[in-house]
């Protein structure tokens, strides 16, 4: 009180102004916070996407250029048909020995389908026809299809033909 009495008019005015102030609680503006977080995140993503898109574009351009330059030469379609009909068969390295030239290993993926076979035959003649696969009659072994009784015995023994 004594102090109050000692205050001048200007100081009293200041005191009243300060007394009129109401303390405010420390408060986070949630909406603004979310906005700022979102914006920051979006900015980061945007840069990442731009970088990724740029890198992909460069990679695609490089791949297309490589594909254009490295593509196989166009196929020549002039084909000479040469049919050898009486050529003696070549001696094979090992049995099973077929006199007909067989395609290179791995040439056919699966069975020799028509388009490939036709082109091979037109280019190389009928020697390009692949040798048949699967079992065939073996010399020295009785041909059971010629002897029905043998087949019947096989069946009775439960063997498959």
């Amino acid at each position: 009180m004594q102090d109050q009495e000692r205050l001048g008019p200007a100081e009293r005015e200041l005191e009243q102004a300060l007394a009129a102030l109401r303390p405010a609680s420390a408060k986070i503006d949630r909406d603004r916070l979310m906005f700022l977080a979102g914006r920051t995140s979006a900015r980061r993503r945007s840069r990442l996407w731009q970088c990724a898109a740029g890198a992909l574009a460069v990679a695609l351009a490089a791949a297309l250029s490589a594909a254009l330059y490295a593509r196989p030469a166009p196929r020549e379609v002039e084909r000479v048909v040469y049919v050898t009909v009486a050529r003696p068969p070549a001696v094979p390295a090992e049995a099973p020995a077929a006199p007909i030239a067989t395609p290179e290993p791995g040439r056919w993926r699966g069975e020799p389908y028509y388009l490939k076979l036709r082109d091979e035959v037109l280019a190389k003649g009928l020697d390009a026809l692949p040798a048949p696969r699967g079992p065939a009659a073996q010399p020295g072994i009785p041909d059971r299809t010629r002897f029905p009784l043998l087949r019947l015995n096989d069946l009775l023994r439960g063997e498959q033909l």
Binding site: P74, V77, V91, A97, R118, A137, D143
Partner: protein
């Protein structure tokens, strides 16, 4: 010391280079021998027309045929052709015996070797006398992916039939030799009637091998005159009509959406599927991703050219610009393909002697188109077929030439053993023309020897010529 080594190396290098140059020069001067056409030399006696005239036939006659489908029996025969090392040795022997003169044939060895094939040959004998042969291959559903049954063993069987015919001829059993020829030629016809070009070529090859034995049979003592037997063979012996229709259509069988695209044409997705499918066909099962990449790259490459092409063909520029890229490229590729395809196939509608030049031109046009329309995957599906047409006609030429030989023998039998001075002198039977040229065969007589000639077609090799020399015996 270092200088001496350098000088020595330089001398050695110069000497080596000079030696290499000399060797290369001498190699360059050595030219390969010019191939000569094969001359078929026959010695045969005059032979009159058989009585009745059609006593001898080179295909099974109607009365000998039985109902049923031959194809199943051929498949069965193929399974019973021996294989393995021993079989290979027999095949080598068979090839040798086919070139051995009749009088030197080891008959017992041949009988023993051919006996190994008796099971397979029996099936072929039955099949050859069936009324029809339907291979029943699913070409309509499979298109270019059709799996062709193995056919190489049928050529082995044809050679064994030839050897048996040769053996019977050596034994003086012309009737049995003709029976084997009937079997083999019927098999050739059945194969040639298959749906694909491969069937036609296999049939042609089998018939060609069999007809070589007619040369042998003619020379056998007391051999019958086979003029009417040869004349009774179908002409053409191998018709390419069915296989060419199939070839022309296979693209549309494979990609059925191309045949019925709907009123608005194919969608971009359908075009893309077709192009990807084509690239996969070309690249032997390339992974779809690779086909996609190639398709994309080719599209970038071809799009401007495709637009120009369509506009040049009459499409409105605005319409072309409005079309999706895949549609522009697909329409362009297919249009180029169809134009070139028909340039090739149209020539199969006329005889070879009229088609030969046109077919050669169409092959050149296709070559140029392949360069001009680089990257068009459809064009790679078009084969050059002129050689196939030549080979089937060459077979007909062989038959026609043998008819001429038999006509000469028939004429000689009626004229005291003397051959005609000109083919036109022969009045007993009609004389065929050369199916390759559409003109008569070259003919001249030198002493007792008759020479019959036919040239190779333009651009052909000496192997494509035909020359017979028939010496008439008493």
């Amino acid at each position: 010391m270092r200088h001496a080594t350098t000088i020595l190396l330089a001398i050695l290098g110069a000497t080596g280079a000079a030696a290499a140059q000399a060797v290369l020069g001498s190699l360059a001067e050595t030219k390969p021998a010019e191939p000569q056409p094969e001359v078929i030399r026959l010695k045969a006696a005059p032979a009159a027309e058989p009585r009745p005239a059609l006593t001898w036939l080179l295909l099974p006659e109607y009365l000998d045929q039985t109902p049923g489908n031959a194809a199943q029996l051929y498949y069965l025969a193929e399974q019973h052709v021996p294989s393995g090392k021993a079989a290979h040795e027999w095949e080598v022997k068979i090839s040798e015996w086919l070139r051995t003169p009749l009088e030197k044939l080891p008959r017992e060895q041949i009988r023993s070797a051919t006996d190994h094939y008796s099971s397979a040959l029996r099936q072929v004998e039955l099949a050859a006398r069936r009324e029809r042969c339907l291979w029943d291959l699913p070409i309509r559903s499979e298109g270019y992916r059709l799996i062709i049954p193995a056919m190489s063993k049928y050529r082995t069987l044809a050679r064994v039939l030839c050897l048996k015919a040769r053996l019977h001829t050596a034994d003086g059993r012309c009737d049995k030799a003709v029976h084997e020829l009937q079997t083999g030629l019927a098999m050739a016809r059945h194969f040639a009637a298959g749906p694909t070009l491969i069937h036609s070529l296999v049939g042609t090859a089998i018939a060609s091998v069999l007809l070589e034995q007619v040369d042998t049979l003619i020379q056998a003592p007391g051999s019958p005159n086979l003029y009417w037997a040869l004349t009774g063979l179908p002409r053409p012996f191998v018709s390419l009509r069915d296989s060419m229709e199939c070839e022309r259509s296979t693209l549309y069988l494979h990609f059925s959406q191309l045949r019925k695209p709907g009123p608005a044409g194919l969608t971009p997705q359908q075009w893309q599927a077709v192009m990807n499918g084509l690239w996969q066909l070309m690249a032997e099962e390339a992974p779809p991703a690779e086909a996609d990449l190639r398709n994309l790259a080719v599209s970038v490459y071809m799009y401007p050219r495709a637009k120009r092409f369509l506009i040049a063909q009459g499409s409105k520029p605005a319409e072309v610009e409005a079309m999706p890229v895949q549609q522009v490229i697909g329409a362009y590729c297919l249009d180029v393909y169809e134009q070139n395809r028909d340039e090739i196939f149209k020539w199969f509608n006329v005889p070879y002697w009229q088609a030969g030049d046109g077919m050669e031109r169409s092959a050149v046009v296709l070559q140029e188109a392949t360069k001009r329309h680089k990257g068009n995957p459809f064009l790679a599906l078009l084969p050059s077929l002129s050689r196939a047409y030549f080979l089937t006609t060459k077979l007909d030429r062989k038959i026609a030439a043998l008819r001429c030989i038999e006509a000469v023998r028939m004429h000689a039998a009626a004229h005291g053993g003397q051959p005609p001075a000109e083919l036109s002198e022969i009045q007993l039977v009609p004389i065929p023309a050369d199916p390759i040229t559409g003109k008569g065969f070259g003919y001249k007589v030198v002493g007792d020897t008759v020479m019959l000639e036919a040239p190779a077609p333009p651009g052909g090799s000496p192997d494509d010529e035909l020359r017979y020399e028939l010496t008439l015996t008493k």
